[in-house]
Subunit: 368 residues, 2 copies
């Protein structure tokens, strides 16, 4: 890739919005304050003080929390524990590509339910369930969904909880972006509204501390968490204690609040710039402005060939992920723009290149 | 457990032999010298400078190295990639309990080959192979084996390599203790003597940096490493970049050499103390003095009930792991003592308690 390539492809923060100094200080404190805890093997539940801090944040018992090496590893543990080959599972359509891959890898019967701008189509899900396909779990990314950027409304959260309780399936609330809301009001998690133990919640510090620290976690019913902890022990003895003790120091010092404020203000600015640039250079694109998170989903006119668009874009030094990567079928005229990794001063140029790539397709002669 | 319990159970270093200051300094340098590399997602191959450093240490191409979250995760990736249910695999008898567990979890046909004081019984392995049971891989811990503390002789390394090359199976050389030799001469790894790509090598920084850092690695044929890297990507995107960049700084600064020297001199002293204490308090025990590593294997007179011994030991405030935990069958009169986690001043007292527990059994009336 060209050295000045602008990548809207990766859901990761640019370095300017990572609190490197805060992390360095947190690392110094971790080795100073708890050298034994940071350097020894822990157990698979994670670094005990961080586990306690997370439990307090969510108002749950510590026994309901498992801290892992990133939340994707948490997902993998959960899926390996509750999903067997042939089991029905529900995902959003579109959804995070790696979730799809992992579930298919397990041989799950993956049912994709349409994602609307206010979240998963709960009526369609209810219909599926009532018709006899009760999933083992429904995977939902409630806030600023990856890849669409949409957020599940409070009404739908309630409806989903009621359906899961009545039909006895798990809601897997996959919520790494929640704290990166830069517009509108926070909505309560389904976890905190759950009266019947149907929610397993996952989150991570990738978006609030940094991705390289690889710390994520699960919150769920204590018995299920205990089963997953056993699998985690057999997989890696314990997760990274150095990293988790650094995260702990970063959190309790309050550095995390400053870090989140930095990320939110930068991302709000980028979305505004992206919106203006699209209006100017690519008015054909349809999209809903995200109120938080890393992603915006773009739909181009019907008939757009996203494979060809990506090739043309790469030639022009701009990258994105194709809509088709997030769907079992469809998405040929859609794409995901991650603005998390592109500094504000590069966004207009990136959209200019994308628009140029799009025009090159429209101008190309139809195949003979 | 009582607050003054002496634990010979866990293969982990006591805090006094961990270079906490060196780690703190390495962390500061990691965030200062390469903030982008330390904080961003990497890829599943690991932190690139550390991967390169490891490749140089082993004199192999970088493409042959995968750096993981601890070597147990590396084992799990390797097994998941090459072992299917029903496949024959060879392990040492006794061997590391978690390896046994993982292989059995995969449904492998686990064949245990007797471990002698100079390593796995290669003649018995050859007989097994010649009789038609060619394993997918043979798992061997060549130096200061866990749990026995024995080391594979150079003659047997050569014989094993020749057998694997001729019969086309993998040797999985699991070698985390190599650098912790405090007596005798280093032996060349099978990896470096391998002319035909039959060796996959694993090691870790748990014993030379600290276990809480959770950094391990695999070295093997580039095509196999590439397949495992793909599985790693789908499991956790990338391993811990913060931890791996700290390890890298710890290594290139030379701090690791000082750390290894500290560990070696402490462990040599502990083994001498343990030997003297056993001679004094428990002369019934038979053992071979390890020349490195963390473990000593103790055999007590035939008929000793290690379950009862463990219970009596725990009552007296001393812990160990039962021999039966490392064997598919047998080990009832054996146990593993890990001296890595017990400071020198506690060893005599620990052995005194163990001897007292043993005498309590001998004195007990036989069951009616």
């Amino acid at each position: 890739m060209a050295s000045d390539t602008i990548s809207f492809a990766r859901g990761a923060p640019s370095l300017d919005i990572v609190d490197v100094e805060g992390l360095r200080d947190a690392a110094t404190r971790a080795f100073t304050n708890d050298p034994g805890g940071a350097t020894a093997y822990g157990t698979s539940i994670g670094y005990v003080p961080l586990r306690r801090w997370i439990a307090e944040q969510h108002g749950v018992d510590e026994a309901q929390v498992l801290v892992t090496n990133g939340s994707m590893q948490a997902d993998a543990f959960l899926f390996a524990t509750v999903v067997s080959a042939g089991d029905a599972v529900v995902v959003e359509k579109p959804t995070y590509d790696r979730t799809l891959l992992n579930l298919r890898g397990l041989g799950a019967d993956v049912r994709a339910v349409h994602l609307q701008t206010d979240g998963i189509d709960v009526d369609a899900l209810a219909e599926l369930v009532e018709s006899g396909t009760v999933p083992k779990l429904a995977h939902v990314i409630p806030n600023f969904q990856n890849p669409a950027g949409y957020t599940l409304s409070q009404d739908k959260r309630g409806a989903l909880l009621a359906l899961a309780a009545r039909k006895d399936f798990l809601i897997f609330e996959d919520d790494p972006y929640r704290h990166i809301r830069f517009k509108g009001e926070d909505l309560p998690t389904m976890l905190e509204q759950d009266a019947s133990g149907t929610v397993v919640y996952a989150s991570s510090f990738s978006k609030t501390v940094c991705p390289g620290i690889r710390v994520g976690y699960l919150v769920g019913p204590a018995d299920l968490i205990a089963r997953i902890a056993k699998l985690a022990t057999n997989t890696y003895i314990s997760p990274n204690m150095v990293a988790q003790s650094i995260v702990y120091e970063f959190c309790v010092s309050g550095a995390i609040d400053g870090a989140i404020a930095t990320v939110k203000s930068a991302l709000a600015e980028r979305v505004a710039t992206l919106d203006a640039a699209l209006a100017e250079h690519l008015p054909e694109a349809r999209y809903t402005l995200p109120e938080g998170g890393y992603f915006m989903w773009l739909e181009l006119p019907e008939g757009t060939d996203v494979d060809a668009l990506l090739a043309a874009a790469n030639e022009r030094g701009v990258q994105f992920v194709k809509g088709t990567d997030f769907l079992l079928e469809g998405g040929e005229n859609a794409l995901r723009l991650a603005y998390s990794g592109v500094t504000n001063d590069r966004i207009d140029e990136g959209v200019r290149r994308l628009a140029d790539a799009y025009r090159s397709l429209a101008a190309a002669p139809a195949p003979a």
